[in-house]
Symmetry: C2
Subunit: 237 residues, 2 copies
């Protein structure tokens, strides 16, 4: 290196260019990490290391880790596919479909959804989703206030479900077993634990151990979504 300063200079310039820090690049890199390891894996050092530099270099582009997480969250909200036209007749199915699509995206990025619980997401992409869901409900005849609150509750539900799912994924990953085998094992353990409870104090849990552990995360999500969305019927004009 030092023997060929002209080349070294060129190489350094190239290296610098290759490694040029940008807000977008930082967010993109952090998103790759969160997709693979969850929020836990996203440390300023870890992100910076991907650019072969130290953590302090990031602070020129991002105020702090919290801002980075919020930028990341809004970025993934941009991945939510939003229907081009809303159909008042199918408003409930459209709301559910958008919720499922949102869930699909959130689950892809593990527990990043927890960021949304730290405050109302106001990024442009998050607003696009909110606007879409609000429009659907209002088109269906839900009064504005109820629509606004339902929107709030559904997004809270989405975030919570994503968090729970991320915990499962993390447990599975750490166990090293196959997902099916691991889930089956936990289900059996839990069922036998419930079945072993005191018949006097906890009769219903004991008796219905199988029901308590039935259904996967997807089915339970759908169950809760139905309650939240279908229940809006009562507010219709």
């Amino acid at each position: 290196m030092a023997e060929f300063p002209w080349r070294a200079d060129q190489a350094r310039r190239a290296a610098r260019a290759r490694v040029q820090l940008t807000r977008d690049e930082i967010v993109r890199t952090a998103l790759r990490i969160v997709r693979e390891e969850g929020v836990e894996g996203v440390s300023m050092r870890r992100v910076a290391a991907e650019f072969r530099t130290g953590p302090s270099s990031l602070y020129a582009h991002v105020a702090n880790k919290d801002e980075l997480l919020r930028l990341m969250f809004d970025e993934i909200c941009g991945e939510i596919r939003i229907p081009t036209e809303i159909d008042p007749a199918r408003w409930k199915e459209q709301v559910k479909e958008l919720a499922r699509e949102s869930r699909r995206v959130l689950l892809t990025y593990n527990d990043l959804a927890g960021t949304a619980m730290a405050g109302v997401p106001t990024g442009p992409n998050a607003l696009r989703s909110s606007e879409a869901m609000l429009s659907m409900m209002m088109a269906g005849g839900v009064p504005v206030e109820q629509a606004a609150w339902a929107l709030d509750r559904i997004f809270l539900y989405l975030a919570a479900d994503a968090m729970e799912f991320a915990m499962w994924k993390r447990s599975i990953r750490e166990s090293g077993e196959t997902p099916e085998h691991f889930i089956q094992g936990v289900r059996e353990d839990l069922a036998s634990y419930y079945a072993q409870l005191s018949p006097e104090d906890l009769p219903n849990l004991r008796k219905n151990a199988e029901a308590m552990v039935s259904g996967d995360n997807g089915l339970r999500f759908e169950f809760g979504l139905d309650l939240l969305v279908d229940g809006l019927d009562r507010y219709l004009g």
Copy 2:
């Protein structure tokens, strides 16, 4: 001290006795901290410092921080007051009442509820609450599987709501302002932000800015709870 070894010895023994470490004492102390500062404030060093010792001393009574948090969570579940008798005729109101009571307790301990999202709570006190709510729904005629899933969804909703509320509380505390003033300020900021959005891209959010920021956390919680519980009607008999 060193000049009067016999006295020092006595004092040390007294200090040791006064400061005797117990699982329960550790959990109690950690709960006091989480009540005042949230989970963020609960570090092994911080808890140990309350006993005038180092963090390693705790590991004789608690496997790790995760176990400590789980013990703490089950402990607060013991604070949830459960009705002595269930009334099938009032099953929906009883379920809601238990949910409100649970919320009251969870909110007291800031974001400790997040622990529950890391896995199915299986502690004795958590089971007592589950048994109670399950009994109420089954007494009301909800089929077991739907009751079990509803229980799951309601607890997830409770945890999420508590997390969101804890974030608010933290923001308020950090702002130094009075809660009323702070909330009013955020509401106005948010409303004017919505009102400023693009009329072409986000017409509904813009138009209904006031509805978007209306209602406090309690009202929104009640709104979501109604949807979740009342929606169970459809599964009756």
